[in-house]
């Protein structure tokens, strides 16, 4: 584990840096970020993403307002408990504890990676509300895809730079997230 003393960087800047240079953030800045803050970022990201899914379905006349609220709440659950569970699974499978990475560090790093999803989801929501566009796939799914880069770096770090393992686990995480979103969207709709 990198023990270099991190500089006093504001948390919001760390979240933005996670999109631009995740490798550096994971190595040097994550010890300063508490896991509840990171989980709040991923929670908000998926809440906005799922809200857009609900709004798309509402525009199609497939669901009512109450279902949109239900889908949004599912997004909050997905972005908090779901992402934390995913982080726990990867942490356990990569045997990260042996390399000095705590469970809190894993959850925090994994969850903060979804800051890219947050930016895409927020932009998508603005377009959805202002222009009435269907934005769940165009913005939401794209946001999840861009979050796979920090996920990849986190898994590489936790697994001791094992390339094949990182590729397999990143694919698994992406598949779980995308299939989970599709299934929940259908279930709620």
């Amino acid at each position: 584990m990198n023990t270099a003393a991190p500089m006093d960087i504001p948390r919001w800047k760390t979240a933005l840096n996670m999109m631009i240079n995740p490798g550096e953030v994971i190595k040097t800045q994550m010890t300063k970020i508490p896991w509840p803050y990171s989980v709040m970022v991923s929670g908000l990201s998926f809440t906005l993403f799922f809200l857009q899914t609900g709004l798309d379905l509402l525009r199609n006349g497939q669901v009512g307002v109450s279902t949109v609220i239900l889908i949004t709440m599912l997004g909050l659950l997905y972005g908090t408990a779901g992402i934390a569970l995913l982080a726990v699974m990867v942490w356990a499978l990569s045997q990260a504890e042996q390399r000095g990475y705590t469970l809190e560090w894993a959850i925090s790093t994994f969850a903060l990676g979804y800051s890219a999803t947050f930016v895409y989801a927020l932009s998508g929501l603005i377009f959805s509300l202002a222009f009435g566009w269907k934005t769940a796939v165009a913005f939401g799914v794209t946001g999840v895809l861009w979050a796979l880069r920090p996920t990849l770096y986190t898994i590489k770090q936790m697994s001791g730079e094992r390339v094949a393992f990182s590729i397999a686990m990143t694919t698994l995480c992406g598949a779980i997230l995308l299939v989970g979103w599709a299934v929940l969207g259908k279930f709620a709709g």
Binding site: V141, T142, L148, R149, V163, I167, T171
Partner: protein, 163 residues
């Protein structure tokens, strides 16, 4: 005997493998025409040609950028750029697999966001791999990212005018 199978340093022993990266580009070339109303053979051929050209450009421009930006390292380790690109481009695989899954399992035909995220992530990862091998400066991540953004934009524009 190679005892660190699957680790970043392992590729250097048997030489650099670039074929997985080219395979990913070829798969994207086959998948992209599914976003068209009709899946035609001529569209697939054009899409494949574009994908292979983008792939060749991506790999060779990255090697060129790393070599020209790290002249000292190149003198001591001539193959570092190729190794970094070979390892970095492997990270196109998750996006390629997810694109196949999205199309086959979820019925989504928007493949380009997967291709765009794949090329950008792989290029940036190639940059960090180059830095791990001794390349100095954030330019090794920023320039590949810029190259990837330009290439994926060109790729997107070309696929939009496919016959």
């Amino acid at each position: 005997m190679e005892t660190r199978l699957g680790y970043a340093g392992g590729a250097g022993v048997d030489g650099v493998k670039l074929w997985p990266a080219y395979l990913c580009f070829i798969i994207f070339g086959v998948l992209i025409p599914f976003s068209r109303p009709e899946y035609k053979v001529t569209t697939v051929i054009y899409s494949l040609i574009i994908a292979v050209v983008v792939g060749l450009l991506a790999v060779n421009l990255l090697i060129l950028a790393f070599n020209s930006g790290n002249a000292e390292l190149r003198q001591t380790d001539g193959g570092f750029a190729r190794e970094a690109v070979g390892t970095g481009m492997l990270f196109m695989i998750p996006f390629t697999a997810l694109a196949i899954m999205a199309l086959a399992l979820l019925g989504w035909n928007a493949i380009m966001p997967f291709a765009s995220a794949a090329i950008t992530t792989a290029a940036a990862t190639a940059g960090t791999e180059a830095m791990k091998r001794g390349a100095q400066g954030v330019k090794n991540v920023m320039i590949p990212t810029l190259v990837a953004i330009v290439l994926s934009t060109v790729w997107m524009m070309l696929t939009s005018i496919l016959p």
